[in-house]
């Protein structure tokens, strides 16, 4: 992979990467960083920020900072697993559609059309109503939501390759379809796949928060940012930080992922092609 270091030196890129890194560290080490158990009632009801509880406590007297840190862990874990599933399955299906064409391609594309025609929230609420709100269901849901978009993008990228010389040469050597997909086509779609992953991550974090806010995501007492916003809305007039802090956590992560995705696309030079070195 060719990474262009100049594209990573832009302020937005640096900000994005820094935000993502901070969130990752906080989420990974939250059990050790968090001062209290996120579900234990340790303080008074709605203590203001400062003092023993750095970011105050919620309506039940749980430490808000600890809940925020653990919430990030949950959010990142669910979205990461779901998006990895969507991107992996979507890439393989997209390349297969491009390579085999014909009926497989038609069927996959029409299924994508159906999914893309359904309003997102309707799809999510139907799914949650049908299957409940367990961790596995949420991961599957996120996978299903982003799968069609990934298929389309990867298929388009793969289609530009099926008529290139190296693919034809592999075909004429008698390589198996699997070998052509995995050895010849997939490596040349990876740039797109990585960027797709980063973009879908930011969408997924936002989607998960929205779902929890609407009561379609994780259920209490699990610490979750969307849930915390929704619980805090009732006290907005006298304890605005209950909404403000989770909102800041959500938006910094989403902004970081967005900038990071853009920086990654720039660094991979997705459209720019490089000249060659040396002469004949």
């Amino acid at each position: 992979m060719r990474i262009d270091p100049f594209a990573l030196r832009k302020p937005a890129a640096l900000l994005g990467l820094a935000l993502v890194a901070i969130h990752l560290v906080l989420a990974l080490f939250s059990p050790w960083i968090a001062p209290f158990d996120p579900t234990e009632l340790v303080g008074g009801r709605v203590d203001p920020p400062g003092g023993e509880f750095l970011l105050g406590t919620d309506a039940l007297g749980r430490d808000y900072l600890s809940r925020l840190l653990h919430g990030g862990r949950m959010a990142l874990f669910v979205t990461f697993t779901g998006v990895v599933a969507a991107v992996t399955a979507g890439s393989l299906a997209g390349i297969a559609a491009a390579w085999f064409g014909g009926t497989l391609d038609d069927v996959l594309m029409r299924l994508c059309d159906v999914k893309l025609a359904l309003p997102g929230i309707l799809f999510v609420s139907l799914f949650i109503t049908g299957f409940g709100e367990s961790f596995g269901v949420l991961v599957t849901l996120i996978g299903l939501v982003y799968f069609p978009g990934v298929i389309r993008i990867v298929r388009a990228q793969a289609l530009t390759q099926v008529n290139l010389g190296y693919v034809k040469a592999a075909q004429l050597r008698g390589e198996s379809a699997f070998s052509i997909i995995a050895r010849e086509i997939l490596p040349n779609t990876l740039d797109v796949v990585y960027v797709e992953f980063a973009i879908r991550m930011s969408h997924a974090v936002l989607l998960l928060s929205t779902m929890s806010y609407l009561g379609l995501g994780l259920s209490p007492p699990t610490p979750d940012w969307g849930l915390m916003v929704s619980e805090g809305v009732g006290q907005l007039a006298f304890a605005p930080w209950l909404v403000l802090f989770p909102a800041v956590f959500i938006s910094t992560l989403v902004i970081g992922l967005n900038f990071g995705a853009e920086a990654l696309a720039g660094a991979l030079g997705l459209d720019a092609s490089r000249g060659h070195v040396g002469g004949t």
């Binding site: 262009d4 100049f6 290139l164 010389g165 190296y166 034809k168 040469a169 592999a170 075909q171 004429l172 050597r173 008698g174 390589e175 050895r183 010849e184 490596p187 040349n188 990876l190 490089r274 060659h276 070195v277 040396g278 002469g279 004949t280």
Partner: protein, 555 residues
């Protein structure tokens, strides 16, 4: 005072690290009014950059760093924005290489030219329309009134280039800069456009700067020639003088590298007698258009790509397959290689019927038929190192792996005069000629009996082409493989092929020994091709060791 004088001109391109890489270094020449100058050189030599600088223009990232460009005594580098706008398309006009990308696809061609007329002649719409129709007539476009309302995609390549030339003439330019105006065109269309350019020179008394990599075309069109190498002007002078008595070593090599059909071909001789390695009979293929409904049949687009093509390749011989784009020659290659199944006809390989698709052939047959493609970069997977690219056929066909495969891959590179250190490079790190040599090495790695070469040198510079052809011939001689060599370039065919098949519109027009067919073409179409290919030769020198030309190069 000369009409155009360039002194100490330097142009650089900004690199990613912010420094300027020189593209044209200290170029100087002068041109009298009405003269035509040919700029020749290989890709990357700076000839297009120099030509564009004559309009005070650089491609994005480029800067004119030094020197003067004096047009009738006035330095165009000192012009302000408005002056430059009046200059471009006014006194100096530009004709680019690709006529399709220089016309706006959604506007009618007439209105595009009329716009240029209105701007430069400051006239009304009706007057501009009349002037445009006159211009269309001047560039020999058929039925100007009807053509006026067409869109660019409704025109042929030659017609588009005429439209672009007519737009260039809209401002009644004194200097016309043409950047490879016929490179994207077929040989027979090229003749017509060159005819037109010549008449412009004679009728409009325009001064021409003609950029081309094709020495024949420059010999034919230009009074003077300027040879560029890596941004520097290495030689300039009257065309006949430069071509007959090149002073610089590079010019000499460049001229020697031009493939000519009047030079004796040292083609690989076929093995005597025996059954042909490949025989195709009555091949037919028609590109199906997309079905409208799942149950409907594919519509017919009228013209078949192949209609009853028959020929045979003897073991060890090189058969040339020549024709213009659309003649069906690449389709024939794809059918023989097994990429597409023909609609009719039959294939025999080494005396046995050959299954149509590669997937239906047994591994040994797949090994024995190899193909090399036109575009060297896209025929090598950009994510694989050269070692992996060469190791794959070695593993698949010869069971070589690990150190043994690496050793053999290194040997193959050596046979193509490539450093074995390239094994650890990615294709992008190699030049076009090197990439194509790796593609040849990959084909020979299978140890084939038949190699299909589909326009393998048309993306390469002329001197690189000569080298690649030599290497291919020597490898072929060593291995005894037969070769089906496909090209639009008769000169290249003459260098490699003992026999030739001329294709047009999917049918065979003529078959025979290359020397015979090119010297005395029996078919009128072949004659047109031969005439097109030999036009510029009159100015080229007769090199020692070559036969006197049939078309007569006078001493």
């Amino acid at each position: 005072m000369s009409f155009l004088e360039v002194k100490g001109l330097g142009v650089g391109y900004r690199r990613p690290d912010g420094r300027l890489g020189p593209a044209v270094i200290d170029a100087a020449f002068s041109l009298a009014e009405g003269e035509s100058l040919g700029l020749v050189g290989e890709s990357g030599s700076g000839k297009s950059t120099l030509a564009r600088a004559l309009l005070g223009y650089c491609r994005p990232g480029g800067v004119i760093t030094s020197g003067e460009i004096l047009l009738e005594g006035e330095d165009i580098r000192k012009l302000d924005g408005a002056g430059i706008r009046r200059l471009r398309g006014g006194r100096v006009a530009f004709v680019p290489q690709n006529p399709l990308s220089s016309l706006t696809p959604h506007l009618r061609v007439g209105s595009q030219v009329a716009e240029a007329v209105r701007i430069h002649r400051r006239c009304g719409a009706e007057e501009a329309r009349q002037a445009t129709l006159e211009l269309f007539a001047a560039v020999n476009l058929p039925d100007p009134a009807a053509l006026y309302d067409r869109f660019p995609h409704e025109l042929s390549g030659g017609q588009r280039q005429r439209v672009v030339i007519s737009a260039a003439l809209a401002g009644e330019p004194r200097l016309v800069v043409l950047d490879e105006p016929t490179t994207a065109l077929d040989k027979t269309t090229e003749i017509q456009v060159l005819e037109l350019v010549r008449s412009l020179r004679d009728r409009f008394k325009a001064t021409l700067v003609y950029v081309s990599h094709d020495l024949n075309v420059v010999a034919e069109m230009c009074d003077r020639v300027l040879v560029m190498l890596q941004g520097r002007v290495v030689e300039q002078g009257a065309t006949t003088r430069v071509y007959r008595a090149p002073a610089h070593d590079y010019t000499r090599r460049l001229i020697a590298a031009v493939p000519r059909i009047d030079r004796a071909a040292q083609a690989v001789a076929p093995a005597a007698g025996g059954e042909p390695i490949l025989a195709v009979a009555d091949l037919a293929y028609r590109y199906a258009t997309r079905r409208r409904w799942p149950w409907s049949r594919g519509a017919d687009d009228g013209r078949p790509a192949l209609a009853g093509v028959s020929f045979a390749v003897a073991a060890g011989e090189t058969l040339g397959l020549v024709g213009e784009s659309g003649s069906g020659k690449s389709t024939a290659a794809a059918v023989i290689a097994g990429l597409i199944a023909p609609d009719g006809g039959n294939l025999r390989f080494a005396g046995k019927p050959l299954p149509t698709l590669a997937s239906a052939r047994d591994p040994a047959t797949r090994r024995r038929i190899q193909i090399i493609f036109q575009d060297p970069l896209s025929s090598l997977n950009p994510r694989h190192r050269i070692e992996a690219i060469l190791a794959r056929p070695l593993a698949l066909f010869h069971g070589l792996a690990g150190a043994a495969a690496r050793k053999r891959a290194g040997e193959l590179l050596g046979q193509l005069q490539l450093d074995p250190a390239f094994l650890d490079c990615y294709p992008r790190q190699l030049s076009g000629g090197q990439q194509q040599r790796v593609a040849i090495a990959r084909a020979f790695a299978a140890d084939p009996d038949l190699i299909i070469c589909d326009e393998i040198t048309s993306a390469l510079d002329v001197s690189v082409q000569a080298q690649v052809l030599e290497l291919l011939k020597s490898l072929q001689r060593r291995s005894g493989a037969a070769c089906l060599f496909i090209s639009h370039d008769l000169g290249v065919i003459a260098q490699v092929a003992a026999r030739v098949v001329v294709l047009r519109d999917g049918t065979v027009r003529e078959t025979g020994a290359t020397a015979e067919v090119f010297r005395r073409p029996a078919d009128p179409y072949t004659r047109t091709l031969v005439d097109a290919a030999t036009r510029g030769y009159a100015s080229l020198p007769d090199l020692p060791g070559t036969s006197a030309a049939a078309n007569g190069t006078e001493p």
